[in-house]
Amino acid sequence: MAMRIPLTARKPEPDAPGVRPQMLWSLSPRSDREAGDAIASNFMFHAFPAKVSKASMAWSYSFWLGTISAALFLLLIVSGLPLLFLYVPSVERAYQSVKDIEFVITFGSWIRAVHRIAAHGMVIAVFLHLVRVFLTGAYKNCVGRGQHREWNWVLGVVMLLLTLLLSFTGYLLPWDQLAFWAVTVGTNIASSIPWIGPTVRELLIGGRTIEQATLIRFYVLHVVVLPLGVGVLFAYHMWRVRKDGGLARAEREAVLEQPREVAAVPTKTYTLLGVARGQAPVIRAQALEAPDTTVNAVPDLVRRTAIATLGTIAIVGIMAVFIASPLEEPANALVTPNPAKAPWYFLWLQEIVTDTTIRIGSFTLNGAFVGGVVLPGLLIGLLTAWPWLDRSTHLAAGVWWARARTRQNIVFLLVVLGILALTFVGMELRGPYWNIYWPWEAWPDIPARI
């Protein structure tokens, strides 16, 4: 590999082990120790382990969805920075400034498209990451010491919610019709909570109507509070992955193989113990350290991380050239678009709130409360608690379609499919007055005002 860092003339490996021959590190190490040095002395790589199991790096195990999510988050920060200079969070000027970004500023529409596509992509990637972790039972602990993968799962669920909130708060900022009515519907769901609902809504939007106070609240949440939250939780998430001994997949070898005897290697420090030649100590190695199941993080893990990250950035960058971001008419509190739809990732909830108003005699429970608060609350609660409810064997950790988890995988997939189906109905089939229109049916002509 030609990615060697140019040093002052590279010295040959010294004979005395344990002596650090050079200050800098290499992306194409010539020995295990150089590979270890690359991890230990590089700020960017210090979060990586020195060695990583081959199996856990397989594209077909994790699909690298976590890395892709992180890459999209990085891209969102980078593309959000120029937008921060251009966007004005005031109801008088927000729409005009987004219009300027879209039509006046050089590359403005591309930057906005990158930000928007990365945001939608992050919702998808984080959701798929959660689906993958569930289906592989990767939230389960296995044979390693001090594992608490269930907590990392909880962190992940919280980060999914933060991702949705980030996307939703960003949705309001252009202050167009799409934004205004999606947020009207979204915040009214909060006000359907019995007793405290109206107060919660007032706190959320800073008043009784969606106005300047709402815009500045959503803006600060979008650019400071929520990204900070995701950033901190992301670091915590990564730290836990290391503490838990890597991906759950990495433990398959440890589970399946007994520790075995391997020959002492002269470059390892135990030869320093003064053991005479020919009397090498017997080493019982876990499979995790065995050379046939693991590789050095530098360069293998670094290379794959780079491919996933750069690939994600490249794909989003190219998509942004071809997919324009919508900007509707300026927000108008007097005219509700027909139909008025929430952002696509909330459409399954909009479908549910449409159908869940419960009437028992004269007693009526608003569908907005049942479908917008109770049902999603139960779903998130169940999701969060699942690692403690899943009683299957630890051998099912890190295995796609483990037989011990067949039933829960099927139920989980059915819920996921149900959510996707409702999302599809909301996106494609709902027309004026929220009636069902098949794709081949034309929508009737309805005047915007009476």
Binding site: W181, T184, V185, N188, I189, S191, S192, E202, L203, G206, G207, R208, T209, E211, A213, R217, L334, V335, T336, P337, N338, P339, A340, Q350, V353, T354, D355, T356, T357, T364, L365, N366, G367, A368, P432, Y433, W434, N435, I446, R449, I450
Partner: protein, 173 residues
């Protein structure tokens, strides 16, 4: 000396540690509470709830939609009443749709001609001409608001904070 001396300080140290920790926690709590309280608005700059709507003579017989107030004003001769256009499900603005055949119904003890029904574009809730919810997720009828006549210039005035029963009518003499 050393024994007595060695025993006493840990108690004082312990006390001071607890005092310090407690003070720190109290200070943090108070500052957090103060920061959060500042986000609760004390003054509302929302539009006022009592609005002049115009002279009664300007209202046609039948129905008139006022976009700014999101309100339908009904007139039958000299009798007026007003129904909110805010859907009770999630707050979208409902639309009036003229019925092919107007009906007459008894609402709140008196006869009312129902010429329209109301449909919500957000989730398909449907209301009858008197505001009662008949289909869709809407949990309750559209709100009726009190109408009065302004004493200074004779305009109709609605109070959007004063909800009334469906027997409310404003009859001008």
């Amino acid at each position: 000396m050393s024994d007595a001396h060695a025993k006493a300080p840990p108690d004082r140290r312990d006390f001071l540690l607890k005092l310090g920790t407690g003070a720190g926690v109290a200070a943090l709590t108070a500052q957090t509470a103060a920061s959060l309280r500042s986000l609760v608005p004390n003054v509302s700059y929302d539009s006022p709830t009592t609005v002049k709507l115009g002279l009664p003579a300007d209202f046609p017989d039948g129905i008139k939609f006022l976009a700014d107030e999101r309100l339908f004003v009904f007139r039958q001769g000299q009798t007026f009443h007003a129904i909110s256009a805010v859907c009770t499900h999630l707050g979208c603005t409902v639309r009036a749709e003229a019925l092919a055949n107007a009906q007459t119904a008894t609402v709140g003890g008196s006869e009312v001609r129902l010429t329209h029904r109301f449909l919500c574009p957000c989730h398909g809730s449907e209301y009858k001409g008197d505001g009662s919810n008949v289909a869709g997720p809407a949990p309750k009828p559209l709100a009726w608001y009190r109408l009065t006549v302004s004493p200074d210039d004779g305009q109709l005035v609605v109070d959007l904070a004063d909800q009334v029963e469906t027997d409310f009518r404003l009859t001008l003499g």
